[in-house]
Subunit: 209 residues, 2 copies
DNA sequence: CAGGAGTTTGAACGGTAATTCAAAATTTGA
DNA sequence: TCAAATTTTGAATTACCGTTCAAACTCCTG
């Protein structure tokens, strides 16, 4: 009736408040994980940002790993949504890919201020690791499908699509390592430049080839 | 006269052996850091790979941080050498950039099996951190200079060169996260594909713009 | 093969950080 | 305002891991 993530019957008001706190904790954790990495982040670090003691966190999450897990889940849900949008909204694969890149960058910089998609999956338990990796692979396959489709219909030149996906997602994931909100580089510019650069490297329009 | 990294007078044969052991340790550490990250790697992990107990490591390095530091130093020395070569050997900036990318990928995959340039600089002491970051910045400026030069002489289109550098180095650094020697992707192919993709995204040859 | 330099080890120490828990503080709803 | 539910806390527990050190071992050299 009190601990961990077990959800019990309670008034809507209380539930709501609890949800808000959970979100706050997740947010603080996200920021800390991005800045110092999972292992170097202590529960005190996270709690301090909220004016709490670390033991209070146990009221909302069963353990540290669970916090990381939920960070991953949230990020992956964003990416999933974004990929579905890309399929719906565009016909051209180049446009589709550019949209995915721009939006993924936006998720990294704004929504989640640095997605821990980027971070230590290995810190999770084997089962959770498998789940997260499966979701990440699904997203990667989505990007790959766009590239392969674009190669078929002549929008893109012939490349190793697996490697192209790694190049694109590597650029984006690495953002978590250097991006700081309020720095000299603006999020939207970052997204467009990345899209131009990374889609441009695939488009099929030059001299011979 | 026995501990840490203090070098004392001793026979050449002994020194040589000691050097070899140091290199072995560095190699094992590099692999472990790449796979699990610095904080999640214990000295036992590193020692085990060599059939040693963790305490033996203290004969070669004063502490864990020193091992990480030397990993960084080795990587950065490679990159420095590579950048000088690029300047000497080529006239075209596109070729220069392609060379840097290919060679950096090679360093990541072969020479050092995953450069910890990619890893937790924050784990180092402030002084060492400053030193490593300075060296890393020097390398980044080298890449940026190639791009800016290429923009001036018309080889590349107009981009935000800072962002372009982040895209390129992000792709490459991220390799450490997924590359496993002996996997389905070969190192040399990886280098060429990355070079094509990332240089291609900058070249100035399409329709309007 | 003897002696010493060089290397490795096991045991022990100390600090840090995750986790547990019962009690205190706060908030909720009537 | 009061009692019950919920949240937060401080103290205590535990486990892990980097580090120290003296003793044991190995290897080189004369």
């Amino acid at each position: 009736m009190s601990h961990g993530n077990t959800q019990v019957a309670s008034s809507p008001r209380v539930r709501e408040k609890r949800e808000r706190r959970r979100a706050e904790i997740l947010h603080a954790a996200l920021r800390a994980f991005r800045e110092k990495g999972y292992h170097a982040t202590t529960l005190d670090d996270i709690a301090e940002h909220l004016g709490l003691r670390k033991t209070a966190l146990y009221h909302y999450f069963p353990d540290k790993e669970a916090i990381l897990y939920e960070c991953h889940c949230e990020s992956l849900a964003e990416l999933d949504r974004l990929m579905r949008d890309a399929r719906k909204r565009f016909d051209s694969d180049a446009e589709r890919l550019a949209y995915v890149i721009r939006e993924h960058v936006r998720v990294m910089t704004e929504t989640l201020e640095g997605s821990p998609l980027a971070f230590e999956v290995t810190a999770l338990s084997v089962e959770r690791q498998a789940e997260i990796i499966a979701a990440r692979d699904r997203y990667e396959r989505g990007v790959r499908r766009i590239i392969e489709n674009g190669m078929k219909n002549g929008e893109f030149r012939q490349v190793n699509s697996k490697i192209a996906v790694f190049a694109i997602l590597g650029s984006i994931n690495w953002i978590a390592r250097w991006y700081r909100p309020g720095g000299s580089i603006h999020a939207s510019e970052l997204g467009s430049e990345f899209a131009d650069h990374l889609v441009g490297g695939l488009t099929c329009d030059r001299r011979g080839e």
